[in-house]
């Protein structure tokens, strides 16, 4: 009989998620202090963000989280083909998110708005702070999204091959946990960056 400990595996994943929460937590703390100090600047700087793209990306991430959660149900019921489809939808959502981000950031770079640019040097300190936090926090979030996409691709291949099945699926569960973390962070980033105008 093989030895495995699914509870232990999940607990390990949660410990990792805690470190991620504290990582982003630190950034949210910086955001809170800086916003308290430069409330007016944050307000005016946020006008440059595209709330429509932000909203679309929020919806896309919520849907992708639901499909990952459903894929676990599918695998538990032995419907591996359906699980692969659900994971594929998740990856499509991730791709849509990335394309939106490409246009969003691309537009900002085009008008000369990026960390260290000449335009940023002409701004108030508070506005520079806002955009620095915006690029760093959404950038770090995007990095997590890419990593999550890679993990879920591996998981999808394994579900397809049957290596992940109704008797062993802890890798799918942990990949799902990571994906929900990406969603969780965005739930706070969205109102704090896009909706403060």
């Amino acid at each position: 009989m093989e030895h495995r400990d699914d509870i232990g595996a999940k607990l390990g994943m949660w410990v990792f998620i805690f470190t991620e929460i504290l990582l982003f937590g630190g950034l949210f703390l910086v955001y809170t202090v800086m916003r308290g100090r430069y409330a007016a600047d944050f307000h005016s700087a946020a006008h440059h963000l595209n709330a429509f793209i932000g909203t679309i990306n929020t919806l896309v991430l919520l849907i992708s989280s639901a499909t990952v959660a459903m894929s676990i149900t599918a695998v538990q019921k032995g419907h591996n083909k359906f699980a692969v489809l659900l994971l594929f939808i998740t990856l499509v959502c991730a791709a849509i998110f990335m394309v939106n981000k490409y246009f969003e950031w691309g537009h900002k770079f085009q008008i000369g708005l990026y960390p260290g640019s000449d335009l940023m040097l002409t701004m108030n300190h508070g506005q520079v702070m806002f955009f620095s936090l915006y690029f760093f926090m959404t950038g770090l979030h995007m990095f997590h999204l890419v990593v999550g996409g890679i993990i879920l691709t591996i998981v999808m291949v394994k579900v397809n091959s049957g290596a992940i099945n109704s008797t062993r699926y802890v890798l799918l569960e942990n990949g799902g946990l990571y994906w929900h973390l990406v969603d969780l962070i965005w739930i706070f980033l969205f109102p704090l960056l896009y909706l403060i105008t």
Binding site: L29, S65, A66, T73, Q76, D183, L184, P191
Partner: protein, 94 residues
């Protein structure tokens, strides 16, 4: 071997959770349009916290895991709240 039976969450549950989360998202956007000035941030954060709670409970399966997981999560969030309180009290009343 696993002593406890595995809990299989029905698709229906996840569909309802998704609809709830989408509804809260539109609520946040509407609230920021109405513009309650200082209250807006608090309302937006309150809604975000509710959404995060729903994601943790259902999508991340905390409701169906052993209570050890819930204790850990609550503990870590408590530590984070303490960090916020200490930092802000230092920053505001220095």
């Amino acid at each position: 071997m696993e002593a406890e039976t595995v809990h299989i969450t029905p698709y229906r549950t996840y569909a309802w959770v998704l609809i709830t989360l989408l509804a809260f998202t539109f609520l946040t956007i509407t609230v920021t349009w109405i513009n309650l000035s200082a209250l807006t941030v608090l309302v937006a954060l309150a809604i975000a916290t509710i959404k995060a709670g729903i994601v943790l409970t259902y999508f991340m399966h905390l409701k169906f895991e052993s209570s050890l997981f819930r204790i850990f999560v609550v503990g870590v969030l408590a530590i984070y709240v303490l960090v916020i309180i200490f930092t802000m009290s230092d920053y505001l009343f220095r």
